[in-house]
């Protein structure tokens, strides 16, 4: 959103950092409500099928879940620190921190890939005979698991794209110590990805 701030409009000399940040926040609100709707679906079905959800959750790998949680939290800290670095005119450190963030994000996806792969291997995917035989409640759990973590992974990819985009601009000195709102916005988006995972993690991996 923020990449089209009022800066370019009609070539007016006016840059509204607060405005583009507000735009980003509003966009984040829509994302929160987007996942919010899914959390409502989740809560209702969990409420209706408590035991099945517990049984199904045992199939999830808590270790991978925890590792991914740590990865996202650390990456959130690194992207936040890169803003401080840029503000202090330390361009090199800022870029390094962004690269670390991207590496962490990528390893999150790699973990996700193996985790999903294992589920498919065990016949725990929508439409699989094994899953179908487990009853409605477990089905609901896995439908929601795939849909919600899948949508979250999609946000991870978008967030990575956003970070790469601003990283290039930092490299070209288009974003500097007195013009860093776009980096802040990329950071805000990345924290949103983290924020959602903070809720996804206990709701899917930690029901015992």
């Amino acid at each position: 959103m923020s990449d089209h701030s009022a800066t370019q409009s009609h070539g007016l000399v006016h840059r509204d950092d607060e405005g583009s940040k507000l735009g980003m926040w509003l966009f984040i609100f829509t994302e929160i409500l987007l996942f919010g709707a899914l959390f409502i679906v989740y809560s209702v079905y969990r409420f209706k099928n408590q035991d099945a959800f517990h049984a199904a959750a045992l199939n999830l790998d808590t270790v991978i879940g925890t590792v991914n949680t740590v990865i996202l939290i650390v990456s959130s800290a690194t992207i936040a620190m890169s803003i401080s670095a840029l503000q202090q005119k330390n361009k090199k450190l800022a870029i390094t921190l962004m690269v670390i963030t991207l590496v962490l994000a990528f390893s999150f996806l790699v973990n996700k890939y193996f985790e999903w792969g294992a589920k498919f291997h065990h016949g725990l995917y929508p439409g699989a005979e094994h899953l179908m035989s487990l009853g409605h409640g477990q089905n609901q759990f896995f439908f929601l698991y795939f849909f919600m973590t899948g949508l979250h992974a999609f946000h991870v990819i978008v967030g990575m794209g956003f970070i790469i985009f601003v990283m290039r601009q930092v490299m070209r000195d288009e974003l500097t110590y007195n013009n860093y709102t776009r980096l802040e916005n990329a950071g805000l988006y990345w924290h949103l990805v983290d924020l959602i995972w903070i809720y996804l993690f206990p709701l899917f991996y930690l029901i015992h």
């Binding site: 929160i32 740590v70 800290a77 950071g187 924020l195 993690f201 206990p202 709701l203």
Partner: protein, 97 residues
């Protein structure tokens, strides 16, 4: 444009981020740890409570709500309040069926 006040730029020191990061990691360890102890129905409540603390830390420090324009803090509070109310009202139906 009417209120373009150039506030002083707030630069969060790295140490703040490191402390928050450490707190988040500790809280993650706690949630994972708690699942080992069987708390029954409370386990959901505990998990969500800890998640909310973590979320609040992320919002306040990583997302700068504590230092930014207070407007953002207010809006975030309203949005979460509205969302909580929506869940609560939805559950009025499910809890009383």
């Amino acid at each position: 444009m009417s209120h373009d006040t150039h506030e002083e730029v707030h630069i969060t020191p790295y140490s703040t981020y490191i402390i928050i990061l450490a707190l988040l990691l500790v809280l993650t360890a706690i949630t994972v740890g708690v699942t080992v102890i069987h708390l029954g129905t409370f386990s959901v409540a505990v998990a969500l409570f800890v998640a909310t603390i973590k979320g609040t830390l992320v919002l306040l420090y990583f997302m700068h709500l504590k230092f930014d324009n207070k407007l953002f803090l207010g809006l975030v509070a309203i949005v979460f309040a509205v969302y909580t109310a929506v869940i609560a009202i939805t559950f009025i139906d499910y809890l009383s069926r």
